[in-house]
């Protein structure tokens, strides 16, 4: 197999030269003065300062106007302030601003650093096992063939074959190398399903760094195997009991730790959420997925994919697959969220379908909140999609109409889980199963021979116990 090409290239955010762009902000890098928000009285912000979740005015304070608007190749993703349109940004306490700037400068300098690029490429190849195959799913394609013999061609991008069994490690490796550059000895991370925690613990073991993982106590119970794996890998797993003891609470706790220990500690955020530069950074480390896909599509059928489909929790695997194709308007981008027990049940995690714009964990984005601006507890059978927010870039792509977002229920995901196992001998993660489930609705609408690439973002060994409880196998 061909060696991975240099996996990371960086977007160069620059200040718009348009003088008509109004700038109501102060000269500080923070677009909004923190005090302008009305902090919501809530039981969820028990500790000082950080976990703010507020509803903002509906109007975007800064609009991107002009001809750049319709050409995706010209969109600033993100701009100088870390915004994707009105989304994104850096809604954090002052104590974190320096760390974020330091992170951004370090990250920026690495694009011209051949040593870093080579080291990263080497690890992705020899340690992680890239490049991952683009696999033609023959029996799945046959399953979707219509009675007249026509139908789309389904391909799977096999991120399940990565070391640790999911796409998460692409980002973990990149960030741990970055942390070493910053001479940080202590790494923290949050985790929902445990995959990001395992990936972080893995890279910390590989590079000999201290590792602390924050995990919701409830998640620890349903993903006990992942907890054991993290401990085996030498990480300390700290249970978070506050709030509803799930991913969002673990994230808040991790951020609190970072605020306290920012000098010695690097926070490896697991998805494309959080304050700038995280959404951009995590995307950059995952964009190798899409870049490889482009090359492999040309090798296999001499063209581009017609449709890309990926599940969306925080949104990292989706952005990783989509990013290289955002500028190709003829490639459809489809994200699939978790509809849990149904969109009208109130028990789901379909942020982009049912959420509203607000600020969570340092970024402006869609999120699931009630009328008081309190976070609504999400639900999904898959822990990795059980997040009430979503990466700001997805919110941006949705608003631009560049990407489409749908959702599938727990039941549909389980069916898809079973289907891929039976038809292709690949057991997908329950998260990934959401993307696969959407093929049921999508395939009948596609012209004959349409090339569909589904991001098989993780393997499902970790979900077998859960699935067996629900399925009659």
């Amino acid at each position: 197999m061909a060696a991975a090409t240099a996996p990371v290239s960086f977007c160069r955010a620059h200040i718009s030269s348009s003088s008509t762009l109004s700038n109501p902000y102060s000269s500080s890098k923070l677009p909004f003065k923190f005090g302008k928000f009305t902090p919501c009285p809530s039981s969820s912000s028990k500790s000082a300062g950080f976990s703010v979740s507020c509803t903002l005015a509906r109007e975007a304070p800064v609009k991107m106007e002009g001809k750049e608007d319709s050409d995706p190749a010209l969109w600033q993703r993100p701009d100088y302030y870390g915004r994707f349109g009105k989304f994104g940004g850096k809604y954090v306490p002052e104590t974190l601003m320096h760390a974020l700037s330091e992170l951004e400068s370090a990250f920026d300098s690495l694009k011209d650093d051949p040593d870093f690029q080579n080291e990263l490429a080497g690890i992705l190849k020899d340690y992680v096992g890239r490049e991952t195959p683009l696999y033609f799913a023959e029996r799945l394609t046959e399953h979707y063939r219509r009675p007249n013999g026509e139908g789309p061609h389904i391909y799977l991008k096999r991120e399940d074959l990565n070391h640790t069994g999911a796409h998460k490690i692409n980002n973990a490796v990149g960030q741990v190398l970055l942390a070493k550059r910053l001479a940080k000895k202590r790494i923290i991370a949050e985790t929902g399903a445990g995959q990001h925690g395992v990936a972080t613990a893995t890279v910390c073991a590989r590079f000999g760094l201290q590792c602390i993982i924050y995990m919701g106590a409830q998640d620890m119970e349903r993903q006990a195997l992942n907890v054991f794996r993290m401990r085996l890998l030498g990480a300390e797993v700290r249970a978070v009991h506050s709030g509803t003891a799930t991913l969002k609470d673990a994230t808040s706790e991790a951020i609190r730790d970072w605020v306290t220990n920012v000098e010695t500690t690097h926070y490896i955020l697991g998805s494309v959420a959080g304050p700038h530069p995280y959404p951009m950074m995590v995307r950059e480390f995952h964009k190798i997925i899409g870049r490889e896909t482009r090359k492999q599509a040309i090798e296999k059928w001499g063209g581009k994919p017609d449709v890309l489909v990926a599940c969306v929790g925080g949104g990292s695997n989706a952005i990783g697959l989509f990013d290289d194709f955002v500028k190709d308007k003829d490639v459809r981008l489809i994200g699939v969220e978790a509809a849990g027990l149904g969109l009208d049940s109130g028990k789901h995690a379909a942020t982009l379908t049912k959420g509203e714009v607000g600020v969570l964990h340092g970024a402006m984005s869609y999120l699931l909140q009630d009328d008081d601006g309190q976070i609504i507890e999400p639900h999904s059978i898959s822990a990795g999609l059980d997040y009430p927010g979503v990466g700001p870039e997805h919110s941006f792509l949705k608003e631009k109409g560049r990407a489409e977002y749908y959702s599938v229920t727990d039941e549909e995901a389980l069916e898809a889980f079973k289907r891929l196992s039976r038809l292709e001998g690949i057991i997908p993660a329950l998260e990934t199963s959401h993307a696969l489930a959407y093929l049921e609705k999508l395939s009948p609408t596609l012209p004959n021979g349409a090339k569909v690439v589904v991001n098989c973002s993780g393997r499902g060994d970790k979900d077998v116990q859960t699935a067996i409880k629900y399925l009659q196998v």
Binding site: R206, G208, L233, S421, I426
Partner: protein, 397 residues
């Protein structure tokens, strides 16, 4: 290397089977030979290996493990891991399972039966059958079904029928063969071990030899030479032969196999066939095996279920007798230590089987000159063994 009669490795190997199976084995051998020379089959296999299994697997420099074995003068061998753990299904087993399932399909078979000690072979077989839409039935000893319940669930999810047989692996495998003999026209017996009557050992070895072929090329790319030492765990011997076979003719490459010493070689509870076995016939082939004075098979034990096999490949028996390969063993305890060690210092959780090979590094490394290139076949990943290790720790505390 002296010329070998097909199916025989010196006095080892052969086809010790009832007459009913001879015709069938001949057909299999013909089919196998044809497939080897058929460019269409080779292309299809290459695509399956590449896109489905995820080959080629990396040859990964284990930096922290290498440092761990440096002496106080900073000298020591360089340790590389051949990452068979990264294959789809998490072990080297799928290399063979997918290739044989493709052969079964070519032969017009509708269904596959299997039974081996290792759960990984069964999962790999189940996956390959799902992909190629063949019915799959796996026989398992009821005591094994309990010990490997998560593997049973995986197989069922993949659409395989799992049939319990009173007893353990020996009984399951006998039942599978009975089922096969009763349905020879439509059923393919998929052997995962590199034991069995000819052509099974050669077939399995041929499909696993992709490991060694890649290793040769990768060693050349990385340091412009060959490995000095190849290290692999030995149950029946499929992963070991997979990496060794390519280098058998290179006398300057040491081949080291590590068997399971269980509770210790003198405890009677181990699976160190080459260390403590005697020559006999088992499952259709002459080879070393663990037998008592009456020629009855001794039940093996190892914490690594995949190594819990009382026989061993006839080809490995031959390599031992000719002195071409060396064989040692590691206890359960040493294997668990190695499991934990690799997890903690390289972030790779190895299978308990592969951990036996890794455990031997403790004894091997101090004897090697500085800069020796050692490649360990990391034959599988160890997520499946997490519960076992947890129980072992709790039990031993």
């Amino acid at each position: 290397m002296p010329a070998i009669t097909p199916g025989k490795f010196g006095k080892f190997g052969g086809k010790f089977v009832p007459e009913t199976l001879i015709a069938c084995l001949k057909e299999l051998e013909a089919e196998f030979n044809w497939a080897l020379q058929d460019p269409e089959f080779q292309d299809e296999l290459e695509i399956a290996f590449g896109d489905y299994v995820g080959r080629e697997t990396p040859l990964c420099f284990a930096e922290r493990l290498t440092n761990h074995y440096k002496n106080k003068d900073g000298q020591g061998p360089e340790i590389f891991l051949k990452r068979e753990d990264l294959n789809h299904c998490g072990a080297h087993k799928l290399n063979n399972a997918i290739a044989q399932t493709m052969i079964a399909k070519r032969m017009g078979m509708k269904s596959v039966v299997a039974a081996t000690g290792a759960g990984q072979h069964r999962v790999a077989t189940a996956a390959a059958c799902a992909k190629l839409s063949l019915e799959c039935t796996v026989f398992m000893g009821t005591s094994d079904m309990e010990k490997q319940s998560s593997n049973v669930l995986l197989m069922k999810l993949l659409g395989t029928e799992v049939k319990g047989v009173e007893g353990n692996f020996k009984d399951a495998s006998s039942q599978a063969i009975r089922e096969w003999v009763g349905n020879l026209q439509t059923t393919y017996y998929l052997t995962g071990t590199i034991v069995g009557p000819h052509p099974c050992p050669s077939m399995v070895r041929e499909f696993q030899s992709v490991i060694g072929k890649e290793t040769r090329r990768q060693a050349m790319e990385k340091w412009g030479g060959k490995p000095d030492v190849l290290l692999a765990c030995v149950g029946s011997g499929s992963n070991a032969l997979g990496i060794f076979h390519e280098f058998i003719g290179d006398e300057d490459v040491r081949l080291i196999g590590v068997e399971a010493a269980g509770f210790g070689l003198d405890s009677g509870k181990h699976a160190a066939t080459l260390a403590r076995g005697e020559v006999g016939v088992y499952h259709g082939a002459m080879s070393y095996l663990l037998q008592d004075e009456e020629g009855q098979i001794i039940g093996p034990h190892s914490i690594g279920v995949g190594l819990e096999y009382p026989g061993v490949s006839p080809e490995l028996s031959f390599l031992k007798d000719t002195g071409r390969a060396e064989f040692y063993s590691a206890t359960d305890e040493e294997a668990v230590e190695a499991y934990k060690r690799l997890s903690r210092i390289e972030g790779i959780i190895p299978s308990l089987e592969a951990s036996h090979a890794l455990a031997f590094l403790e004894k091997l490394c101090p004897t090697l000159p500085s800069g020796t290139k050692v490649i360990v076949n990391c034959s599988g990943r160890g997520d499946k063994d997490a519960a076992t290790v947890l129980n072992y720790q709790q039990y031993s505390m």
